[in-house]
């Protein structure tokens, strides 16, 4: 970087360099001045020659040189100022640049941040969307699972109901058989006789009560019906205790068949 190089040279060494350069230039002018006597000597070249020529001239030359030196110095100062100015400018510029850079950096950073934020937002959004999607998906899945579960449950329930139904029918059959085995039909029963008895069962199947709700008209027949129920006690019940409710209260309808 140019500015950095300039800054590295200290001011003293820079002046020496300049002086050497000026002296060399003056020597060159003396040589050239021998050829061009008529011509006004170029001020820098006359410095060395004047020494070698005379004192008046030298004085003049000194004056001139001093003037030149002053001018040079002025120039130099000016240059220095300019340089400084330049440097200042440069510094400003740099600062500016720096600022700009800083701004730029900031901007970049801001941009970056914005971008990052945006990105984050995007990610978040995406994430959220993903989550939403996922949640939607999972809720759909859940729904599907739920529906499947419901279907399965319904199926299970239906199967259970069917099983329960067949179990009920099975137990009904067992109860019928047991009561029929215990029913001693009294002589003189005729087809068309009917006696209905309400039976209450304990969860063990024990008959708690058997009450005639519709008598047949024959006391002997009714008695045989009541006794059949009591003798059949305990009545068979399903192993599934949940089905007991179906048997807590029963109606047994005695309607003899199989004879005249």
């Amino acid at each position: 970087m140019l500015s950095g190089h300039v800054r590295r040279l200290p001011g003293g060494r820079k002046a020496i360099v300049y002086a050497v350069l000026v002296h060399l230039a003056l020597i060159a002018l003396v040589v050239v001045g021998f050829r061009w006597q008529a011509k006004p000597p170029a001020p820098p070249a006359k410095v060395v020659q004047a020494q070698a020529v005379n004192d008046a001239e030298t004085q003049k030359e000194i004056e001139r040189r001093k003037k030149q030196e002053r001018e040079r110095e002025q120039q130099e100062t000016k240059k220095k100022h300019e340089q400084q100015e330049r440097e200042r400018l440069e510094q400003t510029k740099i600062a500016e640049q720096k600022r700009k850079d800083e701004d730029k950096r900031k901007a970049v950073e801001a941009e970056k941040k914005r971008k990052h934020d945006a990105q984050q937002a995007e990610i978040k959004k995406k994430k959220e969307a993903e989550e939403r999607r996922k949640s939607a998906e999972s809720s759909l899945k859940e729904q599907l699972v739920r529906e499947e579960k419901e279907r399965t449950e319904a199926k299970t329930k239906a199967e259970q109901a069917a099983r329960a139904q067949s179990e009920l029918a099975r137990i009904e059959g067992l109860i019928r058989q047991k009561v029929e085995r215990n029913w001693v039909r009294p002589a003189g029963w005729t087809k068309g006789m009917e006696c209905v008895v309400r039976v209450r069962l304990a969860p063990t199947g024990e008959v708690i009560s058997a009450a005639i709700s519709r008598p047949s008209g024959s006391p002997a027949f009714d008695r045989s019906v009541e006794n059949a129920v009591y003798k059949a006690s305990p009545l068979p019940l399903p192993e599934d205790k949940g089905l007991f409710e179906h048997f807590r209260e029963l109606e047994l309808r005695f309607r003899p068949e199989g004879q005249t």
Binding site: W183, P186, A220, R223, K231, L252, T260
Partner: protein
């Protein structure tokens, strides 16, 4: 809006309630159509009481035999009894449920003053765990069987709702050989054949005894004049009157339900026909007039009809007519021979002798359905008659070449021979409920 909501709430409630109601009313109903056709299982515990003095009769055994013979009870085997109670305090109902008894009879017979006996009995409903009957009697030793029959009647009535017939009696004719000749007797016995009492002895045949509805008199046919003549005899004091001694046959007496008339068969007009005689003045009304034989009349319980046997169709069959002889109709169509009908107490059935290929069985004709139900499988059954409650039929049959009496439950399920009397026993007739004690 609120109103609508309320309405909806009400509607929902109504539906719920209806649902609940239907649920509550959805009681499982099980149909029972089959059963064991048998007697009511009854446990009769041998009566206790007697110490060193044994009563002449085992009352519990008489009761048991009565109930078994009726067909409506199945006395349980005593070997399975868990306990043997003789009084109320000893009864454990569970013991009797174990053996599946539906009823329990316990009792005791203890010596009482003046050589008499105190008989106590109790009847229990095993499943209701309550006493249904309980009585105490003090009787002489020779009345123990009679008490036993009374106990049987009480048990029968308590458990079947119908009157028992164990205290009723039967009349029948016996024939015994006496040297070269025969001796005929008209006898009366308990319904189980015990305690026979001879009402009349004769060297000539006696047939067709018929009880008066009040149970005080018997009409019968005697051949003592070498031809059938109709007599009536008071069973209380033995007095007898000749009712019909017309020319020809005088036979087959049958009492009207009110006891005021007698239907009978007379051939005084040449051909056996059915007549009705008014007993108060012996006036006769002829009911049949047919060239075939019409005989064995029997009154329906309502007194409006008379059934009889006639061979007007070629073979003996049962017909019926109004008491004035009108509206004659045939009622038996099954079997080649049907005769000797008598009505059940409810008038719905006839018991009769039904024969085919030389075999004659006691049978039951259901008048409404015309279904003929053969009750026996013995080959020479005769003279069936209903017990007064219609649940048993008494008839004569042959065993070992001689006539014996037997009873069959009206469903044909239980048949039992009565105690074997001496000689040949025939022509049984079951008494009505109104029983009376003969003098001797």
């Amino acid at each position: 809006m609120k109103a609508v909501l309320q309405l909806m709430t009400k509607a929902v409630l109504a539906v719920l309630l209806a649902g609940y109601a239907s649920l509550a009313s959805a009681i499982l109903t099980i149909e029972i159509t089959q059963g064991v056709d048998g007697g009511l299982p009854i446990a009769i515990v041998p009566f206790g009481g007697a110490g060193k003095d044994r009563p002449s009769q085992d009352v519990a055994a008489v009761v048991e035999a009565d109930l078994a013979r009726s067909g409506r009870f199945t006395p349980l085997d005593k070997k399975i009894f868990v306990s043997h109670p003789n009084d109320d305090k000893q009864v454990v109902f569970k013991d009797w449920r174990i053996v599946k008894a539906e009823a329990l009879v316990i009792g005791s017979v203890r010596p009482a003053a003046q050589g008499r006996w105190q008989v106590e009995f109790r009847l229990y409903d095993i499943y209701k765990e309550k006493q249904l009957a309980g009585y105490s009697y003090v009787v002489a030793g020779d009345r123990l069987r009679a008490v036993a029959h009374q106990i049987s009647d009480l048990i029968y009535e308590k458990l079947t709702g119908e009157p028992g017939v164990f205290s009723t009696r039967i009349a029948y004719i016996t024939r015994e050989s006496a040297g070269k000749r025969f001796s005929f007797k008209l006898q009366i016995a308990d319904s189980d054949g015990y305690n026979p009492v001879t009402v009349l002895s004769s060297a000539e045949p006696l047939i067709s005894p018929a009880w008066s509805p009040d149970g005080t008199r018997l009409a019968y046919v005697s051949f003592e004049q070498r031809r059938p003549v109709l007599y009536m005899q008071n069973v209380l004091h033995g007095s007898r009157t000749r009712i019909a001694e017309f020319n020809g046959i005088n036979s087959a007496p049958a009492w009207s339900p009110d006891g005021a008339k007698l239907a009978l068969t007379l051939s005084r007009d040449g051909n056996p026909e059915i007549y009705v005689m008014r007993l108060s003045d012996s006036t006769l009304t002829r009911l049949t007039s047919h060239p075939a034989i019409d005989t064995e009349p029997t009154w329906s319980p309502d007194g409006k009809e008379i059934a009889f046997t006639s061979d007007r169709g070629g073979k003996p069959q049962i017909y019926r007519m109004r008491v004035d002889g009108s509206n004659v109709e045939r009622v038996t169509f099954e079997g080649e021979y049907n005769a000797r009908a008598s009505y059940s107490a409810d008038g719905k059935m006839l018991t009769l002798v039904s024969g085919a290929q030389g075999r004659y069985h006691a049978a039951l004709l259901h008048l409404q359905s015309s279904v003929l139900q053969v009750l026996t499988d013995t080959p020479l059954d005769e003279s069936p008659s209903f017990a007064p409650n219609g649940r048993m039929i008494l008839y004569a049959t042959e065993r070992g070449g001689r006539g014996v009496l037997a009873s069959v439950s009206s469903d044909g399920r239980v048949r039992q021979l009565l105690k074997l009397q001496e000689g040949d026993v025939r022509e049984p007739a079951w008494s009505p409920f109104n029983r009376s004690t003969p003098t001797n």
